[in-house]
Symmetry: C2
Subunit: 139 residues, 2 copies
DNA sequence: ATCCTACAATGGACATTGTCCAAGTCAAGC
DNA sequence: GCTTGACTTGGACAATGTCCATTGTAGGAT
């Protein structure tokens, strides 16, 4: 069952075949698909779905706070449905693999007032970069 | 005088008018220009400089480790010449302003081995997001 | 069950950002 | 002042994302 779909339904979202397919494709843990990957997967279930609809739907999910947008590589944005639990990302610089990670500590507490320049800070993103085990073994 | 230019010269870089202009445009603190912004600024000094050259030059500076590439918004990459001193970024979600900040603590130490999944981690990027004072006052 | 209507989907044009390449140009050493 | 290999150019191309007029449809009202 799709948790993501349930959450969206509960918000009075008008449910269409397209939105259902996008939500189903995106559901799960350690999912970090690009918009085009979502589209490609959606097309196998609903061949006539358009790119614009996938972009619109992902954008709405982000606005609703049910999906997080992640920019790990400066190329395409990735969409992470794991929005209900705070987490950070660990990225392999060679193959691009992404894992959700849960660091201890509060990164916000590490930023003293003198370094905040009067900003009201609402969230902190941490990206750990390195090489994953399988890339390391084929160095 | 351009520190960035000095450092590049010291590495045996072949010095051309184009590279000089790009280095001069990019030099300074709290500089976080996109490639196109660099190009626009460069054109005012050297009208015939091409986009390709700006991209090439920025890419080389990044490879040499004299400039850092920052992806704060999933749109265009930004180029930060402040590569000699480790720092993180504070970004205004409304106007896009960026400040360099220097948090205390070591974010790497906050990630336990059990959360590293065998990765060899080489660096950590932290992005603080919020609203800057001038945007807050015109809410 | 059918009708209405506001909201959603479509697809294709357009925008932005970035990469590539063949040909011309030039900095730096001799 | 040559020569040469590295640098620059401009334009084509690629990837990602946005916009909009038109068409379709979900879900409430009748």
């Amino acid at each position: 069952m799709s948790d993501l779909l349930e959450r969206l339904r509960g918000r009075g979202w008008r449910m269409t075949a397209q939105r259902r397919v996008v939500a189903e494709v995106l559901d799960g843990d350690h999912v970090h698909l690009t918009a085009d990957e979502v589209h490609a997967a959606a097309v196998t279930r609903l061949p006539e779905i358009s790119r614009a609809t996938v972009y619109n739907t992902l954008g709405e999910m982000v606005t609703l706070g049910e999906v997080i947008e992640v920019a790990t590589d400066g190329r395409a944005k990735r969409y992470d449905p794991n929005a209900h639990r705070p987490h950070q990302h660990l990225v392999c610089g060679r193959c691009g693999a992404i894992r959700d990670v849960h660091p201890g500590g509060d990164p916000l507490a590490d930023l003293p007032d003198t370094e905040r320049f009067g900003f009201t800070i609402s969230n902190v993103e941490v990206t750990y970069r390195g090489i994953c085990p399988s890339c390391a073994s084929t160095a």
